[in-house]
């Protein structure tokens, strides 16, 4: 960090307003025809490939990528608007979101030309679901402990081992897998890892479901047994993946999905306390509004810095640290603030269903995509403490 925290005042440019209206109109239409129910976040979290294809047709996947790969060369701030509107509506984006946010950008940077030409346009059309192949039974936050092994063979690599906690592996077309290609070096334990593009439909890959306490069914174990990956599916430098992973993190960590995961509870809270709340409810709501507004202004600022070609790694880690803790605490805050509302309020059932769901997904929010502890380590390093 250059010694000073930077949050430039970025306002979304005027072209974003028109885009936002377009996205809202599209979502309203999809809700009207029953594609998803915005009041049922648990269901909205499911995948819907036909819906993803309609989003792709609108040009809202791969928005910032070059046109020659099917992208639309729009700004990060425009992508920001689309992401937050879909999230707030509880729209099912699961089958294309990971590809759009992080797999596509990795391919853009590290895949061979013919692979990019083949795969990126299909991502943009909403046809492909990507998953992140990082965590293993013995390697969670400590990524560099990965043991899944890729062994050089004629014309490619054989992969053996297993990945775990892999969201969406049951529906995925591709994984970007982090595999060990050499033992760690004495002076650098991060050495020896390589990223591969893995076609999930090939022989030697078995996907076993893992059920979560929230009822969500997207978690999996992925077992590799002599799965063959061709040479042209190596992404970037062999043994040097650790250099590639860190610069992507600012994209993954600062988006609106890092504080809007339980946003629906804000709306039910407002409905529950009514148009003329008592002081306790009003104060509680007001604090949440101020905190949410602050997070969003920070997050937009990071998006603006990314657009300007900067790498605000510390600022992005701060947004995720504060944002995920906020969205994680929200269920209990709303529960407390609605403790004294009359039992006959109109949205009682919806509120209770949402509270139950949000409470059971809350623990994952500060774990996925970099735990609170890892983030604070990154921030401490930025402060000059490590």
């Amino acid at each position: 960090m250059s010694g000073k925290l930077q949050f430039n005042q970025i306002r979304l440019p005027p072209e974003c307003d028109a885009l936002r209206q377009e996205v809202r109109a599209f979502l309203a239409e999809e809700i009207a025809k029953g594609t998803f129910d915005p009041h049922r976040p648990g269901h909205g979290d499911s995948h819907d490939r036909a819906f993803s294809k309609r989003i792709g047709a609108k040009g809202w996947i791969g928005m910032t990528w070059p046109k020659k790969y099917g992208g639309h060369e729009r700004s990060f701030l425009e992508r920001y608007v689309v992401t937050e509107e879909f999230r707030v509506a509880n729209a099912p984006v699961r089958s294309h979101f990971v590809a759009d946010r992080q797999s596509g950008p990795i391919l853009l940077k590290y895949a061979p030309e013919h692979v990019k030409a083949n795969i990126l346009p299909r991502i943009c059309r909403g046809e492909l679901c990507f998953v992140i192949g990082m965590s293993e039974p013995g390697s969670g936050s400590d990524l560099f402990a990965a043991k899944t092994k890729a062994t050089k063979v004629d014309r490619g690599w054989r992969i053996n081992g297993s990945k775990i906690w892999t969201s969406n592996a049951n529906i995925a077309d591709y994984m970007i897998a982090l595999c060990r290609t050499s033992p760690p070096a004495k002076e650098n334990r991060r050495h020896g890892l390589t990223q591969f593009l893995v076609d999930m439909k090939i022989l030697g890959i078995k996907v076993n479901p893992i059920y979560q306490m929230s009822g969500q069914q997207d978690f999996n174990e992925v077992v590799f047994e002599d799965a063959f990956v061709p040479d042209d599916h190596v992404l970037g430098e062999i043994d040097g993946a650790w250099k590639q992973a860190t610069s992507e993190l600012a994209y993954e960590r600062s988006g609106p999905e890092r504080f809007l995961e339980t946003f629906y509870l804000m709306l039910e809270l407002i409905r529950a306390i009514g148009s003329a709340p008592d002081t306790r409810s009003a104060e509680g709501l007001g604090r949440l509004v101020a905190q949410l507004h602050t997070l969003r202004r920070m997050s937009v600022s990071v998006a603006g810095m990314l657009q300007a070609g900067k790498e605000p790694v510390v600022e992005a880690a701060i947004v995720k640290d504060l944002g995920t803790i906020w969205e994680q605490n929200l269920p209990n805050r709303v529960r407390e603030l609605t403790a004294f509302v009359p039992p006959e309020i109109a949205n009682r059932v919806t509120l209770e269903e949402q509270l139950a769901f949000a409470t059971t997904i809350a623990p994952k929010l500060t774990i996925q995509g970099g735990t609170t502890e890892i983030l604070r380590g990154i921030i401490a390093r930025g402060l000059g403490l490590r």
């Binding site: 430039n8 407002i270 409905r271 104060e283 101020a290 504060l322 604070r376 402060l383």
Partner: protein, 355 residues
């Protein structure tokens, strides 16, 4: 929100603060003789009346420059009524009342106080917690008359000013107006009401708080890298690192939200719904950051941090005291919550997304 003109103003302000009001130096003094030359330098540089147009006797600087100066003032925990004089100059000249030289403050500075502008042209009422009233020569008053609000310039000696100080030892006084005859007054322009004054004051305090938190963070990180315990700098311990990361988060939140609010007022120069959402949010979140951030910093410093001798309290106690000026976080949260509830759930996301 920095641009080129900001940079020049920031640099000149920072130079004056560093030369004449360095917190370390001041903290060792047992007298207040530093205040007069310091104030003179601020006035000479046009910083005190930055928000007063040139034709009314000021420097005519843009609002953004004044907010930038307040951020730097926060970083130095400046203990003179610079923010108050800026605000007073702003209030007076918005109504076309010329601003005098010298130290000023503003009344009211709490949301529940009202000063009455009587039909005979005098002011009556009582305002509590007026910052630096006992050090000010003039008070800019927003008063309420039968036919709307007035802005009046009052000589401090014409009021009854009580004793009192903030947590940080800065004056904070009860001011009584007993049929006080203003030196000059004018009708307040449309849109400049009690709520607008509270918002403008709140955004100023938020910007100061963010600046002070920047210094609190850098002091704390430096100390953690120097102080050795169990044979290593305490900053090498993960528990301490995580506390400092949280402090960085609170500082970042305060910087972002106060900068956003100042930017909003700078751009629109009005006190509409956007300014209310941004200004109230800034005061709420910066006050929360002050509470959290000060506690963390004191924990990092251990015993030395709460001694008079150490400079930390100059920053932490000011951020804690500023929470109560122009409406506390509880006050603004209730106001903001009432507004959001009244607008209803359907309007909420569009309101957030509009910023």
């Amino acid at each position: 929100m920095t641009n080129d003109s900001d940079h020049i103003v920031i640099e000149s302000a920072a130079r004056i603060f560093a030369d004449l009001a360095d917190p370390q130096t001041i903290n060792r003094l047992d007298h207040a003789a530093w205040k007069a030359p310091f104030w003179q330098a601020l006035a000479d540089a046009g910083l005190a009346l930055a928000w007063v147009p040139e034709q009314l006797g000021g420097a005519g600087a843009p609002l953004a420059d004044g907010f930038a100066v307040l951020g730097v003032a926060g970083r130095f925990a400046v203990a003179v009524p610079l923010a108050e004089t800026l605000l007073a100059g702003w209030l007076l000249t918005r109504a076309g009342v010329a601003a005098p030289n010298g130290r000023m403050t503003i009344a009211p500075s709490r949301p529940f106080d009202r000063i009455i502008f009587d039909a005979d042209g005098t002011l009556s009422g009582c305002a509590i917690g007026i910052p630096f009233a006992s050090e000010a020569q003039h008070i800019a008053v927003l008063a309420e008359g039968e036919e709307g609000a007035f802005v009046a310039l009052v000589a401090a000696r014409d009021c009854t000013i009580g004793q009192g100080q903030t947590l940080a030892g800065d004056p904070s006084n009860i001011v009584q107006f007993q049929r006080v005859k203003p030196l000059r007054y004018a009708r307040a322009p449309f849109g400049l009401d009690h709520a607008a004054l509270m918002l403008m004051g709140s955004v100023s305090r938020s910007v100061q708080t963010a600046g002070a938190l920047e210094s609190i963070l850098s002091l704390s990180v430096s100390y953690a890298n120097e102080r050795v315990a169990f044979e290593r700098p305490i900053g090498k311990f993960q528990a301490v690192q995580h506390n400092l990361a949280r402090l960085a988060g609170e500082t970042a939140a305060a910087l972002a939200v106060s900068g956003s609010a100042a930017n909003t007022i700078t751009r629109s120069d009005s006190f509409d719904e956007a300014a209310f959402l941004e200004g109230a949010s800034a005061k709420i979140r910066c006050a929360e950051a002050a509470t959290e951030g000060s506690a963390i910093a004191h924990q990092v410093f251990g015993a030395i941090g709460f001694t008079n001798e150490h400079v930390l309290h100059r920053f932490t106690l000011r951020t804690l005291a500023w929470r109560d000026d122009f409406g506390s976080e509880s006050y603004w949260a209730a106001e903001l919550g009432k507004h959001v509830a009244k607008c209803g759930a359907e309007e909420f996301w569009p309101m957030v997304a509009s910023r």
